[in-house]
């Protein structure tokens, strides 16, 4: 039996919209076991990014429970949530969002530095993680010296640097061609199994979803019942 890495229950999220409020998520529930990938698909504006932001503890829902690797985030202080993101959640942004002044290895080392770990061990761990995404020989390069696919791989490695229980991936292929996009998704699937992370993959490109375990669609702030990919 696999443990649940991410558990969202009854999540409702609204935003101010003129005199009223716009419902972005309407009673959403999503459970992602460790070592599996759940793909969240849907059209633009359907609530995919809001769902990811709630799961990343970047935004607090109006109601519902967010449990990350067994920790209920309700009532946690801003500092506690920041620490939770640092230690338990890995985020792969839609765009690589790498820091321009850091080399590929340093993009990962900064995660260890945020966590107060020793620089020497952080360096070794960063090189090991870069090796896992096939970039061991690019460790000294800065973002502008890497291709789009390489930058996205660095972002994935950075997200995995602190061994997160939950990996949140936001449109990782939006800036890549089909082949590179497929390679990135294969990599995410492989690492999810290797590291036993509970991975949520937000995407609009169903054609690439050959490696995920579950596909769920979000439409007007509501999720369809998750379906096993083989069933879908």
């Amino acid at each position: 039996m696999t443990s649940t890495g991410l558990d969202l229950t009854g999540i409702t999220l609204t935003y101010p919209d003129g005199a009223g409020r716009l419902t972005a998520l309407d009673g959403v529930g999503l459970a992602v076991p460790a070592g599996t990938i759940t793909a969240v698909v849907g059209p633009s504006g359907s609530g995919k990014s809001s769902l990811l932001a709630v799961a990343a503890t970047l935004i607090t829902p109006d109601s519902g429970r967010v449990v990350i690797a067994g920790t209920d985030t309700h009532g946690l202080s801003r500092g506690d949530l920041t620490a939770l993101r640092r230690t338990t959640i890995g985020i792969v942004f839609q765009q690589p969002n790498l820091l321009p002044s850091l080399t590929a290895a340093e993009q990962l080392q900064v995660m260890a530095h945020l966590d107060g770990r020793s620089p020497a061990r952080a360096r070794a761990r960063a090189l090991e993680t870069l090796d896992a995404v096939g970039l061991a020989d690019q460790a000294h390069r800065r973002p502008h010296q890497l291709s789009g696919g390489q930058r996205q791989r660095v972002t994935i490695a950075r997200a995995l640097m602190n061994d997160p229980a939950v990996l949140l991936v936001d449109e990782p292929t939006s800036a890549l061609d089909h082949d590179r996009g497929a390679a990135v998704l294969d990599l995410i699937a492989t690492l999810t199994r290797q590291k036993a992370t509970a991975t949520v993959l937000v995407t609009h490109d169903r054609a690439l979803l050959t490696t995920v375990d579950t596909i769920t669609e979000v439409r007007d702030g509501r999720l369809t019942t998750p379906a096993r990919r083989s069933e879908g």
Binding site: A53, L58, R86, L99, E106, L114, N162
Partner: protein
């Protein structure tokens, strides 16, 4: 400081430009500080060097002034009897014209009683003899034993001692009797400009002032009674103040733009789990490194330039007060400007990192 160090190396052009600006302002402040202190010394060293803790001026209701103050013998005699006053010595100050051969110079004549200790080697002073400060002797090209005239009165140089200056003119020490003859009318009686007081804590100076119709200030505060010093020092200090304010504003503006430029990076770091405190320490540490390097280089250049000119014709004081203090003030004000700028880090929303393309 993990990101800050790497930003400094990566954006070295921008930081070098800003560091150069800080360095140049520091050089300017350092040179101005040295010049202000040098000019101040040429204005006041004869007063600040007096072996007295207070000076009593005549009270005329217009504030203290060496030009206007007149003290008669009765007043300094009574000051000597005030409880807590260990000595009350008359001091006459007047501008005079000196001539030795073909050389002429404007000097400040300081009249003191023989053996009073107010001037250097005052025991050597007698009727018709003077003690010249080094600059006064150099200006007139005289040495001990030579003759010169002060306002047409012939005197002999008893000794050349010290470097006292008053109101930008070298000092010549005369006996109080000779000083009377330099300017005061005979019918004015025996007079001096101020009374130099040495006191203990038991002295009730305000009460004595009321009784003797004088106004007593500390020797340090007495420099305000030199008209040229107040105007000159005030102008220079105003310039220094403006330079400090400009440097704080320039540094604040630089870090405001820099923080706005990297707000995307800040949002990403926050989303990845960096605390606001971590990011503020990183940004402020970066500002401090820039400030210390910029002001340190500037202070070093100012010190070298100051060392090159001090001792020559330009009045310049090179010490910790004119080099390290401006540097410390620059760092403190620059850090304040940077702190006000980088505090916008606290308002960066990590949510913007999701979906942001940079």
């Amino acid at each position: 400081m993990f990101v800050a160090w790497r930003d400094l190396r990566f954006a070295k052009g921008r930081f070098a430009l800003m560091g150069t600006v800080i360095m140049m302002i520091t050089v300017l402040v350092g040179l101005l500080s040295g010049l202000t202190a040098g000019l101040g010394r040429e204005n006041t060293s004869a007063i600040t060097g007096l072996p007295a803790d207070h000076l009593a001026f005549s009270a005329d209701g217009r504030g203290i002034s060496f030009t206007d103050s007149r003290i008669d013998r009765g007043t300094w005699t009574k000051w000597a009897r005030v409880p807590g006053v260990t000595s009350a010595r008359p001091l006459g100050i007047a501008m005079t014209k000196a001539q030795a051969g073909s050389a002429t110079a404007a000097l400040s004549a300081f009249g003191v009683q023989r053996g009073s200790g107010l001037g250097p080697a005052s025991g050597d002073l007698g009727k018709g003899t003077v003690i010249m400060s080094t600059k006064a002797a150099d200006a007139l090209k005289v040495k001990a034993g030579d003759a010169l005239t002060l306002n047409g009165h012939k005197v002999t140089v008893a000794a050349v001692r010290g470097a006292a200056m008053y109101s930008h003119t070298p000092v010549v020490w005369t006996s109080l009797d000779d000083w009377q003859r330099l300017g005061a009318s005979p019918e004015d009686g025996e007079q001096a400009t101020v009374v130099a007081l040495s006191t203990t804590s038991a002295a009730d100076l305000p009460a004595a002032d009321r009784t003797l119709n004088t106004r007593t200030v500390s020797s340090g505060d007495a420099v305000r009674a030199i008209g040229s010093f107040t105007a000159e020092n005030g102008s220079l200090q105003l310039m220094r103040g403006f330079l400090f304010a400009i440097s704080a504003l320039v540094i604040g503006a630089f870090f405001t733009v820099w923080t706005i430029q990297r707000s995307g990076d800040v949002a990403v770091l926050k989303a990845l789990g960096a605390s606001t405190g971590y990011l503020l320490r990183d940004a402020l540490g970066q500002a401090l490194i820039l400030l210390v390097l910029g002001t340190g280089t500037g202070a070093l250049i100012a010190a070298c330039l100051g060392a090159a000119v001090s001792g020559g014709a330009i009045p310049f004081v090179l010490d910790a007060g004119t080099v390290l203090v401006p540097m410390a003030v620059m760092i403190a004000l620059g850090a304040l400007g940077a702190a006000l700028s980088v505090r916008r880090i606290t308002s960066v929303d990590p949510l913007t990192a999701l979906g942001s393309a940079r």
